[in-house]
Amino acid sequence: MKATLAQRLILGTGAILLLALLALSLFIIHQTRAQMEALAGERREALVSLLARSSLDGLAARDFELLDGLVRAMAQNREIAWIVIADRHGKVLASTRPDWIGKSFHDIDKPDRNGIAQLLQREAIIDGIPLGTVWVAFHDAPDPFSGRLPLVIGGAALLALLFLIVSISLLVRHLTHPLERLSQALSSVHLDALPEKGEIERLATHASLEVATLAQEAEELISRLREARAAIAAEEERLQQAVEHRTAELRAINEELESFSYSVSHDLRAPLRAIDGFSRALEEDYGDRMDEEARDYLARIRHASQRMGGLIDSLLRLSRLSRSEMQLQKVDLSAMATAILQRLQREHPAREVEWQVQEGLKCQCDPELIQVALENLLRNAWKYTRDWQPARIEISGRRRNGMIEICIRDNGVGFDMRHAARLFGAFQRLHGNEFEGSGIGLATVQRIAHRHRGSVRAEGKPGQGATFCLALPEAETA
């Protein structure tokens, strides 16, 4: 899930603030410690100098009361471990250690050196004349940052950080809220439900200049969308009207054409039947009085009229294909193809054809129309392998883009790919009268494929067989 701008700003600023506060705290602690150490050093130096200066009169007067008073006063400072005031020969005259008084300072064994952080020595000098020496030993100064102070500083820094984060959060929320509202409004914009004019700009009324500008631009964009939608709607309406008009025209023309075609076909059948019937009557009644040539002419008349009848039947069937209502259902193509091939084998028991059908080929289609298409394709394969021994027909399929493509491959006569475009035209026959047929079969297959929103294609080489692939909607697996 992506973070919002406000969340990123808050997190980013928080992280930067945390790092900055951390660095600042460390810097302050380091600087303060260094400064305190320097101040402590200066304070100690000042203390010792003051003691040396104050001891002058005591040393000069051998005023032990004065020297003792000085030592006692200085010893109030808890930093001080011990003090020694000695004459110029090093003889201790006053000290916080009474047992050292009267001894030479340099001969005294000072056992507690371990706890001493600093031992400062200063000569008590007046006008360049030394009257004595003072020594002051200082304890290790307590680290101000070793106790609760770091916790206090850390706590204060944390509180400051929280305060800053909360403040920044509120500020960021305040600044980004119009942007969020604008974003929500824009994300809900739909061509069918564009916001009212000025609605987007109103969302950024109290926002920053950038957000207001963005809202203004969005408003302009939406305004253009509104205009475009109006234009599209107008165009759609115009197109719809044009399509409806054209469709009506086409439907009328088609109906007229089909009606004409049907009428022509139907009306042509009657004279043809008359020609064929009278030719047969002529043959039966006067055949024995006709010479051989006359009978041959008569037979040709009959054959031509029968062939014309077949053509008219084919035209009528093609016409019916375009008009019939489709009943889509799940169809087992493998079973259908097997049944057709078995029937063909029964019709032509002398043919030796090796055929193979892939199991499980199914499509969502009209069974009657697909039966016609498959039968056309398989009869073609059967027909064009007539002179091949052994003849082979294979039916296989594969899924592609939500369609199932059924391919019928044979090892028959094949065709030249240069003429492939002509294959699916009505009454187109690439092999002339060498093979029987009306030339309407592949046109029928293509019409059926188109009615199923499918397609048909063909590949082949002369003398090396042909492959026809019919793409149909795949059957639902459920």
């Binding site: 002058l56 000069a60 007067a61 009257l131």
Partner: protein, 291 residues
């Protein structure tokens, strides 16, 4: 050249040089330090600083360490002498007289001031605008003395006033010269007294133009270099010789020169007859030297 004479010469030079070096360096182990006390109105440290060159000179000449001590006040000085913590001390004639009467001092030498005299006189001075021009007019006024143990700063002027019949004064003690000057400069009715030589010295570094001198005391003896009575006589004599001989010794002269700030020109043989002068001053001042 044979070796033996060279070695002998080296040993002779080395051994002969050692005593000379030894004599020049004070040795703590050779003799105990000589404690030299100074009773001064100056702060002890300042007094010690001023007397240290003198002590070093003495050290070198005596061949023993000399420690300068500046006890605070007469009581401590007395106690230090009684306890044997001071051997030699430099004091004014007033203090010397008191110690002498207690049997705590014997004279070694006497200071000769910058005027070349073993006597000085105190000056009475007031502010120029003060309505006091003669000593008799001091009656009823405030006296700004330095210390009740002063000779020129108390004993001699008080004796003079008493001699003049002036007894009705308010006696205040300022503890040092400058304070006395300031008291007079800031309070028109106050009368200050200072040793005449000191007054001249102060005039070289202080603006005293707003003051006027209205009289002077009788002469009083200058400071005395004294010793505790039981100090070894030979040592006492030796110290006296050294101190009095300073003026004739170039090194001693060098030490004496900065001591001019203390009015000291040099030291001379003590004349016991000066004690009579002090005694007379005590009498006139109506002070008890044994108090």
């Amino acid at each position: 050249m044979p070796r033996h004479p060279l070695i002998a010469l080296f040993l002779l030079l080395t051994l002969g040089f050692l005593p000379a070096v030894h004599a020049e360096r004070p040795s703590d182990t050779a003799a105990p330090a000589l404690h030299f006390g100074v009773l001064s109105v100056a702060p002890p440290a300042r007094a010690v600083a001023k007397w240290t060159p003198f002590a070093h000179y003495l050290e070198q000449r005596l061949g023993r360490s000399v420690e300068v001590i500046a006890p605070r006040g007469f009581e401590r000085l007395t106690r230090a002498i009684e306890e044997g913590k001071l051997d030699v001390f430099y004091i004014n004639s007033h203090v010397y007289y008191r110690l002498k009467r207690k049997g705590l001092a014997k004279p070694l030498a006497q200071m000769v001031n910058l005027n070349g005299s073993t006597f000085s006189r105190s000056l009475f001075f007031v502010r120029k605008d003060a309505p006091i021009d003669e000593l008799y007019q001091i009656e009823g006024h405030r006296m700004a003395y330095i210390s009740p143990l002063g000779a020129g700063a108390y004993l001699a002027p008080r004796a003079r006033l008493h001699e003049e019949g002036i007894r009705n004064t308010q006696e205040d003690f300022t503890r040092n010269f400058i304070s006395t000057i300031r008291e007079v400069q800031t309070k028109p009715g106050t009368v200050g007294t200072l040793c005449g030589v000191r007054y001249s010295l102060l005039g070289k570094r202080e603006d005293l133009s707003n003051l006027k001198v209205i009289g002077e005391s009788e002469a009083y003896p200058e400071h005395v270099l004294a010793a505790r009575p039981d100090l070894d006589e030979a040592l006492s004599r030796r110290i006296t010789e050294i101190v009095i001989g300073m003026y004739d010794d170039p090194e001693g002269r060098l030490v004496l020169e900065p001591m001019a700030s203390m009015r000291i020109s040099h030291f001379t043989t003590y004349d016991p007859s000066v004690e009579k002068v002090t005694e007379e001053l005590f009498r006139k001042a109506e002070l008890d030297p044994g108090s």
